[in-house]
């Protein structure tokens, strides 16, 4: 089986690709060939021969659908891809758009519709909460400085300034809010989101929906060590019927197909606020395999048409601790990928 994945940027703000590859290799063994689709020559996953078999450069989402199709067609002619698993929020629009075309080529995927993708977007999260009955912190869409001042007046400090696709910063003064607004505008575009700050315990839930309203897997995780970018550097699976119920309600309400992550804040009264809904697996998704519910592998089985029974129990108290690792790379391999946009990992000599 040949599976193409994206999100190989295993840096301090990691994409889920390396974790997805690891989970798939563990479940599907050596019959599996992983094709890494990368945006930059320094994405670490390109140079991980134990997980990745071959890597290709693909155009940034902003290049448009025609360029993406042309590149995937080229890759497919060489690799005969069976399944593609996109792992970035920002590329999903294009991949959803070309799903019928991919199917004609024989490449399968399980992705949300554009409507499902848009509904849970940060811009629309408050409306999403009202529509489906979820508790969402108040927010404001910020296009101008006047919008920012209005948000500050209504939300008060501290508040959370968030980029359209990624990143967030807790701000305690107008100066820091202004700086964050400009930073996220430059990096991810408008609107920037200002969200009410909720004090409490942050819990993340990795889930997998079958597209019919059933949750195949739900794994809640408490962050134990958080980087300055707010990313989990260590975490532990936790129990909680109310967390499982929240995720089940999300899947039932949206009929979500594929992987997702709920970012949840539990306040002192035990109330659960949904801070974000990510439309793909989280970077810590390998923990789901460790906890007994290998979500990427289950996704592949679903895509291949297997009847999947929802998982039951999972291991509570299973931890992950992320670490940095200096992968040694031959300059010739870096040159090969930089110049030609592809690299067979069989040739990588460490």
């Amino acid at each position: 089986m040949v599976i193409a994945i994206t999100g190989l940027n295993a840096n301090d703000n990691p994409g889920p690709g390396v974790a997805v590859a690891r989970a798939l290799k563990q479940a599907l063994g050596h019959d599996l060939r992983i094709v890494a689709l990368c945006y930059e020559a320094l994405e670490p996953g390109i140079y991980m021969p134990d997980l990745i078999d071959v890597a290709y450069l693909i155009p940034y989402p902003g290049a448009g659908i025609a360029d993406l199709k042309e590149r995937i067609q080229y890759i497919h002619q060489r690799e005969n891809i069976n399944i593609v698993i996109p792992n970035f929020d920002s590329e999903l629009y294009n991949f959803i758009k070309i799903t019928p075309w991919l199917q004609d080529l024989g490449i399968n995927a399980l992705l949300p519709s554009h409507k499902q993708l848009a509904e849970r977007d940060k811009e629309n999260l408050a409306d999403f909460g009202k529509k489906y009955g979820f508790v969402i912190p108040s927010d404001h869409k910020i296009h101008t400085l006047a919008d920012l001042d209005k948000a500050i007046e209504e939300l008060c400090f501290p508040l959370v300034i968030k980029g359209k696709f990624y990143e967030a910063e807790i701000c305690y003064t107008r100066d820091t809010a202004l700086k964050a607004f400009h930073h996220f505008n430059a990096r991810w575009g408008l609107p920037v989101i200002a969200q009410q700050f909720i004090k409490g315990t942050e819990i993340n839930i990795a889930g997998l929906g079958d597209g019919k309203g059933n949750a195949i897997s739900i794994i809640p995780m408490r962050k134990l060590y958080i980087t300055d970018k707010g990313k989990a550097w260590a975490g532990v699976t936790i129990e909680g019927a109310e967390l499982l119920e929240l995720a089940r309600r999300f899947v039932a309400a949206t009929k979500w197909p594929g992987g997702f992550e709920l970012e949840v804040m539990r306040d002192a009264d035990g109330k659960l606020f949904i801070l974000e809904i990510n439309p793909r697996f989280p970077a810590w998704v390998y923990l789901t395999a460790g906890a007994g519910q290998n979500q990427p592998a289950a996704l592949v089985k679903m895509i291949m048409g297997e009847e999947i029974t929802p998982f039951g129990d999972y291991a509570v108290g299973k931890m992950f601790v992320r670490y940095s690792w200096d992968e040694l790379v031959d300059l010739a391999d870096f040159q090969q990928f930089s110049a030609f946009g592809q690299l067979s990992l069989d040739k990588v000599i460490v």
């Binding site: 819990i203 408490r222 532990v236 129990e239 509570v316 108290g317």
Partner: protein, 88 residues
């Protein structure tokens, strides 16, 4: 009675405790390291012993007076509540 009212305190049933004093709350993901005395008290509470019984055990086995035990006990209970380890 040396200790006045004998309050009944229950450690949450889902709390995991190891013999070496490591405590894990699976509902929150919090973990704690308890020293020998803290572990002894937690194990005693879990076994169903009352506050008075535990305090008596401590006085019989350690060189400490009842007033000191009462003060330390109150501090300890505050910590247990803050750590979300006691039933409401």
């Amino acid at each position: 009675m040396i200790f006045g009212l004998d309050h009944k305190m229950n450690i949450k049933k889902n709390i995991a405790m190891s013999e070496n004093g490591f405590i894990f709350n699976p509902a929150t993901g919090d973990s704690f390291s308890a020293n020998r005395m803290a572990s002894f008290i937690l194990a005693a509470l879990r076994s169903g012993k009352s506050e008075a019984e535990i305090k008596t055990d401590i006085i019989e086995n350690y060189e400490v007076n009842p007033e000191q035990v009462n003060r330390d006990w109150d501090d300890y209970v505050i910590q247990l509540r803050a750590a979300n380890l006691l039933e409401a």
